[in-house]
Assembly symmetry: C2
Homo-oligomer: 527 residues x 2
């Protein structure tokens, strides 16, 4: 049952005065439950409890953390249809997506459970002493990663499960040994509360300290601002708009003690269709991209919003087929009236830009809150002159840029802001002729894709979901995959520490059998 | 020969109007050479050249980078006595220190050369495709670290070689594949120019792109400010005061595109002397610490500025011996009149604090610019009430805190700002009784030392020289040791990329034979 209350550790409370409801975009009406925004006192309690829980949680073994993470996955599974139902009511997304995203969420939790159970992720590095070294003896130094402290995670509107309450940021933080306070996304507060109840149950069953997790409701920005400014909060995870992410980054960097903010933000995910690809497989790519642009109503961070090619008959044909195919696709419901409102206004603003032509726009009658897909085109010289054309239009929208030649194409890529992804569509034989294009693109993005679509972000160790600003606030980390744990840890050295008092990870005996670097050599052996 | 000019890549220029000289603190007079501060045009040229060099340098092989780094070491060695002489003239430090620091600098360069020659540092991770996976096929994703772009390195006053022109930050950046623009420290501009000439020679001999390195003179803050704000600069390395580091951090975080600043800043490096240690080896520790506090005239980041113990006869004895021993040590020359001026004024300000007593202060006549060592004491309750007592006094100064009991000791540690190091002096048997103290200390520092001194920062893979703010601006990185390379790289993924066009590090054949994680298993084998 959804109560509308906040979880302050294992306590359900609602002392705040601000109330709100979530919205069903499919039926265009409010859902029933009344949510209570966290009050100042509740925020303070949640953070203090997290700081107190950190004293215990930071040293809990990998095995215990893996039990906790696996149990969260179990409890989310145990929520069954109730979770799927509320997810759909609060997002307008279809049941199949809800089930898929739940699967991804559970996979992420279990991936982190496996990671911390095995234990090598802490990057144990041992440099043993050499007392005979001249002119001064060498000390014994041993390094491993330790958690940085309580983390605030902002729920993401477009991933009510996989990047919200028990999503990637939270799972990575728990795996690291950091307590989490979730600033629940107001659009899916019910989904958030249900998932929060699963986390609290798992924490109790696996005997985690109370305060390891809290879930705070909010209807506006105040709760998030207070959390980011709280001195006991040590880092922030965010997925959303450039405006939102940058505001949090600014707040965090202006604190007396600045803290890291990993914000995964906007991206137009440029796609470059090379001449032979346009010529030989232009029709095929056009069909594939019509699907990618409209997938999830275009509400993915990796939606391909910008397609670049060399002007000519083949690109003209690609645009024609893409335009024909995209209007064949039935529009789908967007997440919220605010989202569709922003989509329609940004699309309109884009369409007002000089030199932009709309080559396709779904124009049949559609249900309220459904997003009309559109394809626009522009000349290379126009986008070089007008950076407003670089802006993301969050929704089923894409712009095809017709470049005069390869030099212009390279210049446009070099002048793009940072991006999550870049894609090259090419026939194998031609790719090696475009080394400059590939290198220039690589310098602007976090992930480069060959002959595919950017949508679909595999959860794996090799994934980088991030990139130069404004794709993220810090390109040195990824938001997806097990390596995202690195955002929430710091290296720590023990010097000449007594072996019996070292953490197991650094003991001579290597009782955990993890992979370590000892005097420059990687090994799982004991010293 | 030292010209006083700037190196803009391999070009020596001096178009600026601002001129300055360095200062010999031993003789209390200016040195001869007139240096020319970099003009706005020279700054612009250096950055544009770096951005252009980056296009080539970013993809240069590890072998070539190792040749470059080793050649820099060779060229620095080839500078011979001229370097040692100017180092001493500009720093007031003794020849032995100059030679030692040159050795450290060369060791760092060769360590990074070995790291990149071997190549595993790029953390290659491969998740192979699974086309039969349901419901959707798994794509092939391969990740490695790539350089982030041109780096600005600020020379450090207290390490004219090891943390300046070709110091740790620069060596790490070159190893990563990032061009470097050094904002030379005005106190040792001649040392800086000589080392810069060695880097330029090495770059030419090993055929690095021009602009991979520039060295800009400056007398004030303007050159640094312009560099940090330049859109083509992608990260900053700094060693110095909290005020200076924070100012750069603020500038960088307020840019349209924020960039990472790794600033290693202030620390009082708390040392906890536990009761049995004070009782059994108090005299010995007092003598050892008299040496550590005065080492290099106290001008090390890891100088022990705060010693905490439990009030009683043993601690009183420790303070007595420490006070007696420290005044036996001959004062030494400090780096610059500005440094000694700041030392004397901060010491005086500290001595004005209510409740602080000076138990030892060198009072014999000494040469100008020499630093008078001092030991002060304070009650635990006093430092709890007055955070001004937490401030670093950069120089041969330390404060002993007499805590009422263990609880108060723990409370004081918990309330300290972030620190580079924390040290525990203990008899083996007693340490396990102070788990809370150790845990609390661990949460405030980057490195914890057992029965030793914090001065002396070993250059090795397991070293962490960093810590929670204000020890550094980002506790997730270290400034010392080969892992400091992580500050200047970002992870990057290739998706479904043709094997023959992948970097060697990620090719199926593993031609470099590096350690990689393939489908979750660490291996040096080919696929």
């Amino acid at each position: 049952m959804i109560t509308g209350k906040n979880y302050i550790g294992n306590l359900l409370t609602s002392t705040g005065r601000v109330k709100f409801k979530t919205f069903n975009p499919q039926e265009n009406k409010e859902n029933n439950v009344v949510f209570s925004e966290a009050s100042e006192a509740e925020i303070e309690m949640a953070v203090e409890l997290a700081a107190s829980a950190f004293k215990v949680f930071r040293s809990i073994s990998g095995i215990k953390k893996s039990e906790f993470l696996n149990q969260i996955a179990n409890e989310i599974e145990a929520l069954g249809d109730e979770l799927i139902k509320i997810y759909c009511l609060e997002s307008g997304l279809p049941e199949s997506r809800a089930i898929g995203e739940r699967g991804r969420t559970i996979f992420q939790l279990r991936s982190f459970a496996n990671l911390v159970k095995e234990g090598s992720w802490i990057e144990a590095t041992i440099d043993t002493a050499d007392l005979s070294r001249q002119p001064i003896p060498k000390v014994d130094i041993r390094k491993m990663s330790i958690p940085i402290g309580p983390i605030v995670v902002f729920g993401a509107s477009n991933f009510p499960l996989a990047y919200s309450t028990a999503g990637g940021d939270t799972a990575a933080a728990f795996a690291a040994g950091c307590p989490v306070i979730v600033k629940s996304h107001p659009m899916h507060a019910g989904t958030g509360e249900l998932v929060a109840s699963a986390i609290i149950k798992a924490a109790e069953k696996t005997e985690m300290p109370n305060g390891v997790f809290s879930n705070l409701n909010s209807s506006g920005i105040e709760v998030g601002v207070k959390l980011v400014k709280h001195p006991q909060v040590k880092a922030v995870g965010f997925t959303g708009s450039v405006g939102g992410g940058r505001a949090l980054y600014n707040l965090a960097s202006q604190r007396p003690e600045p803290i890291p903010v990993f914000a995964e933000m906007g991206s137009v995910n440029p796609v470059i269709i090379l001449p032979e690809a346009a010529k030989i497989r232009g029709n095929e790519w056009a069909k594939t991209y019509a699907g990618s642009i409209t997938l999830g109503s275009g509400q993915f961070c990796t939606n391909p919003g910008l397609i670049l090619g060399i002007k000519g008959a083949d690109l003209t044909n690609f645009i024609k087929i893409l335009s024909e195919e995209i209007v064949k696709i039935e529009p789908t419901c967007m997440l919220h009236p605010n989202i569709i409102g922003a989509y329609e206004s940004k699309k309109a603003k884009m369409q007002e830009q000089k030199g932009l032509q709309t080559s396709a726009s779904f124009s049949d009658e559609i249900a309220i809150n459904y997003g009309r897909q559109a394809i626009t085109t522009v000349e290379g010289v126009t986008i070089l002159k007008n950076t407003a054309l670089h802006h993301e239009v969050f929704g089923p929208f894409s712009m095809v840029v017709q470049c005069k030649n390869v030099q212009q194409l390279e210049e446009i890529i070099a002048n793009l802001e940072g991006q999550l992804t870049g894609t090259i569509l090419a026939e194998n034989a031609e790719l090696e002729n475009y080394e400059n294009i590939v290198n220039t693109l690589q310098n602007r993005v976090g992930r480069i894709i060959f002959n595919g679509v950017p949508t679909g972000v595999e959860v794996c160790a090799a994934m980088v979901h991030g990139g130069p600003y404004p794709a993220s606030t810090d390109s040195r980390f990824t938001a997806v995959g097990i390596n995202s744990i690195k955002r929430w840890v710091r290296p720590f050295s023990f010097q000449n520490w007594p072996n019996e008092l070292l953490p197991d990870e650094l003991k001579n005996e290597n009782p955990l059998g993890i992979s370590r670097i000892v005097d420059g050599k990687r090994t799982t052996h004991k010293l």
